[in-house]
């Protein structure tokens, strides 16, 4: 009986700590789960909009998180937003972010559907360059080289 009680208390403790986990949601199209809290660290896996991550800790602009797959690593704070519990959404004020995520997840708002409708009305507008523009993306390696060559970032010269 005593053992059972012990087991029960342990389980209760587990549940209690579970209910306190802080979850953040990816708000950008894609971002990397990195091995260290810096942009040129090894990429463990790629995350996409709406992915939920358990927050483990953080430092200067970076969150240490655990992905659904169980992988742990770092994401930049500008790529995620807090996701409070459903019940927390009951309150007004600072919790409004919860509702925002709901809306964002349901993808209701100024979205692809609205753009399509707008373009129907304005066939004179050309989005070809807008789409081309989005493809103008330098690789992480190219950016790293550019900074190193220009003696910038972590390669900047000591003054």
């Amino acid at each position: 009986m005593e053992r059972k009680f012990l087991l029960l208390s342990m389980l209760l403790f587990a549940v209690l700590s579970l209910s306190k986990t802080e979850v953040v949601v990816v708000k950008v199209q894609t971002t990397a789960l990195r091995a260290e809290p810096r942009f040129f660290a090894a990429v463990k896996l790629m995350l996409k909009t709406g992915d939920q991550l358990e927050k483990l800790g953080g430092q200067e602009g970076w969150f240490q998180v655990k992905a659904a797959s169980g992988a742990t690593g770092w994401v930049h704070s500008s790529a995620v937003e807090p996701r409070p519990t459903q019940l927390a959404a009951l309150t007004k004020g600072p919790q409004t972010k919860a509702a925002m995520s709901e809306v964002a997840l349901a993808s209701k708002g100024f979205n692809r559907q609205v753009e399509a409708k707008y373009r129907e009305k304005h066939p004179e507008l050309d989005y070809a360059w807008v789409d081309k523009m989005l493809g103008l993306q330098a690789s992480a390696e190219a950016i790293r080289k550019f900074l190193e060559e220009g003696k910038l970032g972590e390669w900047k010269e000591a003054k």
Binding site: K4, L8, L11, L12, V15, S19, K27, V28, Q29, F39, T49, H76, S78, A79, T85, L87, A88, A89, L90, T91, K92, T96, A98, A99, M100, E102, V103, A104, S107, K108, G109, F110, N111, Q113, V114, E115, K117, Y118, L125, D126, Y127, W129, V130, M133, L134, L136, Q137, A138, A142, I143, L147, E149, G150, K151, L152, G153, W155, K156, E157, K159
Partner: protein, 306 residues
């Protein structure tokens, strides 16, 4: 034994419920107590209507919405200017922008930061929400070195990271859009609602384009962008004097040619900005000249737009 197992499950379920509810109770705090007896009906209403009360200002627009607004603002800017299609120069400004953005206050944005060069002699730069940046060939010609161009791009990134473009959207328009979106409970909007929303979208785009292309940001927004840009270039390792040098060149140009459009009509006087920036750059800061490799790569690419 079996009874003991069921007992365990029962206790667990009760505890889980209690702990979750108590979390909510703690969060609701005094507000719940105030509501007194009405709590259950109020709760029910709040659960279904949360999103209605939630969104009120431009700050409540999601990253995805900001991106879709930005795409169309970009298309509207491109309807007024021709793109300068030089891939070497375009790749260089994108590399530079994406490198500088890493040191900004918002390194990650929905679809990243991207730049196009506009084939215009006017000295101008515009930043649409969501990371779409436009700079003119005339502006590139005015930049004496990479540090100056990095300063200008950091300034445009700052407008985006501080969401200055979205601030131009009329409040009433946003409130109407949020209301429309909140009332619908279905995951997708009904076709007639999409029509209404598209009209509001169109209005929002016009608000932003007028601000970006015609009126320009107010003095406060420009000064804020300068100040944020200075922090960004400092962190990146560029000389803080870069942006100042660009503005000084601009001031020179302004005295020579009094009928310049673009930056001159939409930005505060460059002389005023130089004064303000100089007070922010520590007076003791060395006038460090950029390393040779940086100067060399800039001179090489600059020959394409000269």
């Amino acid at each position: 034994m079996r009874a003991g197992f069921y007992y365990l499950i029962l206790v667990l379920v009760i505890f889980l419920t209690v702990s979750l509810v108590s979390c909510a109770v703690v969060e609701k705090g005094a507000e719940v107590l105030e509501q007194g007896g009405k709590i259950s009906t109020q709760d029910k209403e709040l659960i279904t209507k949360t999103s209605q009360a939630a969104r009120t200002t431009f700050r409540d627009l999601s990253e995805e919405e900001e991106y879709y607004i930005g795409r169309s603002v970009a298309a509207l800017i491109l309807a007024r200017y021709k793109v300068w299609n030089n891939s070497a120069a375009t790749n260089y400004v994108n590399l530079l922008t994406q490198a500088v953005a890493l040191f900004s206050d918002r390194p990650e944005i929905y679809a990243g930061y991207h730049v196009l060069i506009l084939d215009s002699e006017e000295v101008n730069a515009m930043a649409a929400p969501g990371g779409f940046i436009f700079i003119t060939r005339g502006l590139l010609k005015t930049c004496p070195d990479e540090d100056a161009l990095a300063g200008v791009l950091a300034h445009e990134i700052a407008h985006i990271s501080a969401r200055h473009g979205l601030q131009a959207i009329k409040k009433s328009r946003l409130i109407e859009a949020f209301k429309l979106l909140a009332v619908e409970t279905a995951e997708r909007l009904a076709p007639e609602k999409v029509g209404q929303l598209t009209e509001l979208f169109e209005g929002a785009l016009d608000d932003i384009v007028v601000q970006l292309v015609e009126r320009g940001y107010d003095r406060q927004a420009e000064m804020e962008a300068d100040s944020l840009a200075l922090n960004t270039v400092n962190r990146a390792g560029y000389t803080p004097q870069g942006l100042i040098h660009f503005l000084e060149k601009l001031a020179e140009k302004e005295t020579k040619e009094s009928t310049l459009k673009g930056w001159f009509s939409t930005h505060p006087k460059p002389q005023d900005r130089v004064e303000k920036l100089k007070t922010q750059v520590a007076s003791g800061a060395a006038q460090a000249s950029p390393p040779k490799t940086r100067t060399a790569r800039f001179q090489k690419i600059a020959s394409s737009w000269k």
